[in-house]
Amino acid sequence: MSEITLKANGTTHRLDIDPATPLLYVLRNDLGFKGPRFGCGLGQCGLCTVIINGVATRSCITPASAVKGEITTLEGIAKDGKLHPLQQAWIDEQVPQCGFCQNGQIMTAKALLDKNPNPTDEQIRAGMDRTLCRCMTYYRIQAAIKRAAKVMADARPVSGQGVVA
């Protein structure tokens, strides 16, 4: 056991745990997060995805002691009581069936859009490819990502465009 410090969704936590503990179990069982979930423990499915330093990270194969930046979980992407555009698009497109994998889908999509705000269909397929859903909601997920990308683009101030007086 040793003391480690984790910052998640703006809050700093100090924990006395085995530093080799996969981050997933710390997030779920010590810090009480419900977004990241166990699916394979092998980094193959993406259910456990959190974002660390802008990177979609599979917390089931990430030792807690190896985390060097702030962790963002599904619970932390809404801002000022307003859902993230991806979450809203997930509702508007009625994406989930059982919904168990959707943490991984939304968090992977967020990291994708943060890097590439206007992905092509091919880039969405490639970027999301190893994030699995056994209810097979892929078609709706891809539609929701496109919808969210459009909403986010519309909300961004357009540069280089004159204002008509």
């Binding site: 979930r37 699916g39 809404a78 997930w90 009625q94 919904g99 397929r125 699995l132 078609y139």
Partner: protein, 784 residues
């Protein structure tokens, strides 16, 4: 035994509800919310048990009207993610005449909701929706009578809308449901020989009177699933809870010789090793400690004397050579042998479908709490009522001392390992006297969950000189001996590993003949079940997987129908329509007429050009083609068209477009239904392209998402079109029943893809799945 009575917040509402139900005979005016809150805050109350069954013949078991003029519905179903909960609320709020958004729904908790069996058989809307509608209609009737008394006006002079009853002649005179009964009990008895027949005196509304039914309110369960606020069964934590992991035999059929507990005794957090027969589990304080201890526990196993099964490579050879454990008396119509003998052309083909697993996205899990000498199991199992009964019997506890609280979880398309995990958690919790959370690991889930049975088919068809199908001979062998049922205390895996044996084992092989409405005057359906050498304690165990057997059967029969169309040089749609039109007999659901309508609708939506298959093989690297298949399950009719691109150099198949025409009668929520259809088709597409449980002669070797691939984002079609044919081509029919929508969707897809690949390449694939290497080998053999 330590007593743990702190209950997760989300469950508190249920406890107050149960206390409410137990206050039978109490004269109440408006004690509801206040008392409920007080009891919920108290926490313990009667949560300690026992947990008698809610009485389905009492209106109060189904509906509570609150003082704020809202309603809560209590139903004995579970929602596996198709939005049935939303549909139940639509149906019940429609009958009760209350706004949908003023209602709430509680499902699947054995101590607070009546036993409607949970989920299964796509019967939620078709069967269970009816008592829900009737009890809601009865509540409306009773409220109208109460209002008549209160307002001094006969019922026939009252109007009701959005839970407000007004005097027609004087709309200023009104009373709300909440004012009439809010928080109090109806104390109205219902009748019915069983829960499905539950009814009051009121009649349900006609289709024309329904307002919420047919609309698409958004599913209420989706927002908490995307903002991270939902508490799933995996999230429940109780004071004193420990974590368990199983240690499975490394070789199927192995016998436990000894356990070296010293290999884990000194590990941090170690609590206990529990073993009985060949069942072994390790319990630790923390989850990662249990995972570590289960990996490190040294167990001495003895391999079985003979191989438990042939390798998956040799499976179909084995199945065809095996002596069946059972054979049904063939279903014969007309004289198929004579018709075959006189046919101008006879076509024969064999089809192979491997074992395919549930492989839920999250491995099986459950939390069991033995507090107060009772047993509470938190589980996502879709049949919570069966789990309660099964666990009570398994643990030899009175049913009233066991309850199962259903909570959301990963997909439940049939008999998943969630059943097994529930029994294991309960057994360990009873042994230990502490709440135990059991979760399987990925490799364990993929190897050991129940499988849809493998099939070996042989089909023959006879065509006359004009290309008409005059004889049809169908022979199916399923590897389905000792088919595992739901929550059976003598077939769940822990029972098997403990040495418990059902005698005799379930023969298996139910419902394995085609159900399409083709007119085939001379036909024979023969079905057989074969057993693998090891019938018990085997990871290759069979149980219901989404439309059990339907996808396999339709793969063979609808692929073969295409082969017959090819032999007749007929267009595949035209060939099917000819067979559907060749008879005038129909049934109560107008299934033949609706089949014709659905096949025509899918062809029209796709833009089908009439021509025989295959098309002339193109010269480029990408070959395209289209295929159709159609199926019926109960009263629901579905036809699907797949358009494929086949890569000539890699063998890769991409299904670029899917079209579905779907008729399940009255549609409750079109948007939710469309989602179910999309995802059901893609689930079957995954089975068509990827899924196969592989094994050597000792163990399953498909154990994770690399060795057991599944459909991914990259496989997703570019376009999916869905036509809700919505019912009945007989306009004079006064009412449309609502049929079960879900599982029929899963049937046609595998054959539609096979038929499309054939259309594109001229190559007929008769063995699933169509992985790149298999397709490429077939293309090379055919020199395409």
């Amino acid at each position: 035994m330590t007593s743990f009575t702190k209950i997760p917040k989300q469950i508190q509402e249920e406890l107050s509800r149960r206390n409410f139900l137990q206050s039978a005979g109490m004269l109440v005016v408006s004690f509801g919310p206040l008392l409920e809150t007080a009891q919920a805050q108290n926490g313990s109350g009667q949560a300690a048990g026992p947990y008698p069954d809610p009485n389905f013949r009492q209106l109060d078991s189904w509906i509570v009207i609150h003082q704020d003029n809202t309603a809560t519905f209590y139903v004995g179903k579970t929602d596996c993610g198709q939005g049935t909960g939303t549909s139940f609320r639509q149906m019940m709020s429609d009958e009760l005449d209350i706004a949908y958004d003023k209602t709430n729904l509680i499902m699947g908790r054995t101590d607070t909701t009546v036993d409607q069996g949970g989920s299964g058989g796509s019967d939620a809307i078709q069967t269970d929706g009816w008592p829900m509608r009737r009890v809601a209609a009865e509540a409306r009737r009773v409220l109208l009578e109460m209002a008549a008394q209160r307002l001094g006006t006969p019922v026939n002079q009252l109007a009701v809308s959005n839970a407000v009853i007004t005097v027609r002649a004087d709309p200023a005179k009104k009373v709300t449901y909440g004012e009439l009964i809010g928080g109090a009990k109806f104390n109205v008895a219902l009748t019915g020989r069983d829960v499905d027949a539950t009814t009051g005196l009121a009649k349900v509304k006609t289709v024309q009177e329904l307002k919420m039914v047919g609309q698409s309110p958004q599913r209420y369960d989706i927002p908490p699933k995307v903002d991270g606020s939902l508490q799933w069964a995996v999230d429940v934590k109780l004071p004193g809870m420990v974590h368990a992991r199983n240690v499975k035999p490394p070789v199927a059929g192995a016998k436990l010789i000894s356990i070296d507990e010293s290999s884990v005794r000194d590990l941090p957090g170690f609590v206990k090793v529990v073993s009985k027969g060949n069942y072994v589990a390790v319990i630790c304080e923390r989850e990662e400690q249990a995972i570590n201890a289960a990996r490190r526990l040294k167990v001495n196993w003895q391999k079985p004397a003979s191989a438990p099964f042939p390798s998956s490579e040799d499976l179909f050879k084995y199945m065809r050579a095996a002596t069946p454990t059972s054979s049904e008396k063939p279903e014969v119509e007309g004289n198929p042998e004579a018709a075959m003998a006189s046919a101008a052309k006879v076509i024969e083909a064999e089809y192979d479908v491997p074992f395919q697993g549930h492989t839920a996205i999250s491995p099986a899990h459950a939390l069991a709490d033995p507090s107060n000498g009772q047993m509470t199991i938190y589980s996502n199992d879709m049949k919570s009522y069966g789990m309660r009964n099964g666990i009570a019997e398994f643990l030899r506890m009175p049913r009233e001392e066991v309850r199962v609280i259903w909570m959301e979880g990963p997909q439940g398309y049939g008999r998943t390992a969630a059943d097994d995990a529930g029994f294991e958690a309960a057994f360990l919790a009873k042994e230990l006297g502490r709440p135990v959370r059991m979760q399987w690991m990925r490799q364990e889930e993929t190897a050991w969950d129940t499988k849809g049975p493998a099939f070996a088919f042989k089909l023959r068809g006879g065509l006359d000189a004009q290309g008409n199908l005059v004889a049809f001979d169908y022979d199916a062998r399923s590897a389905d001996y000792n088919h595992v049922g739901y929550n059976e205390p003598d077939t769940v895996l822990i029972a098997q590993l403990m040495g418990i044996r059902r005698n005799p084992p379930t023969p298996g092989g139910r419902g394995i003949v085609p159900t399409e409405m083709y007119a085939l005057p001379h036909r024979r359906n023969s079905t057989h079940v074969v057993s693998l050498p090891l019938a018990w304690e085997t990871p290759v165990r069979t149980g219901n997987l989404r439309d059990p057997n339907g996808p396999q059967v339709a793969f063979a029969s609808e692929s073969f129908m295409d082969e017959l169309a090819v032999a007749a040089k007929a267009d595949p749609v035209e060939f099917r329509l000819r067979l559907l039109n060749a008879s005038t007999s129909d049934d109560s659901g107008f299934k033949r007429a609706r089949s014709i309508a659905v096949v025509k609708a899918v062809a029209e939506a796709y833009g089908w050009d009439t021509r025989p298959s295959p098309r002339p093989v193109g010269s480029g690297n990408i070959l395209t083609g289209r295929g159709i298949a159609y199926a019926v399950r109960n009263q629901t009719v579905v036809a699907e068209i797949a358009e494929v691109e086949v890569n000539r150099t890699t063998g890769h198949v991409w299904v670029k477009r899917l079209v579905c025409a779907h008729d399940c009668g009255l549609v409750i929520n079109p948007q939710a239904l469309r989602g179910t259809i999309e995802c059901g088709m893609l689930h079957s597409l995954s089975r068509a392209l990827h899924e196969e449980v592989r094994f050597d002669t000792e163990k399953v070797t498909s154990v994770d998402w690399v060795t057991h691939p599944t459909l991914t984002h990259a496989d997703t079609p570019a376009q999916i079109d869905i036509v809700l044919v919505n019912g009945d081509p007989h306009p004079n029919r006064p009412d449309l029943p609502h049929y079960g929508a879900g599982e029929t969707i899963c049937k046609p897809m595998l054959a539609a893809v096979a038929n499309a690949i054939h259309d594109a390449t001229g190559v007929r694939l008769r063995r699933l799945p169509f992985r790149d290497e298999r397709v490429l080998a077939a293309l090379k053999t055919a020199r395409v």
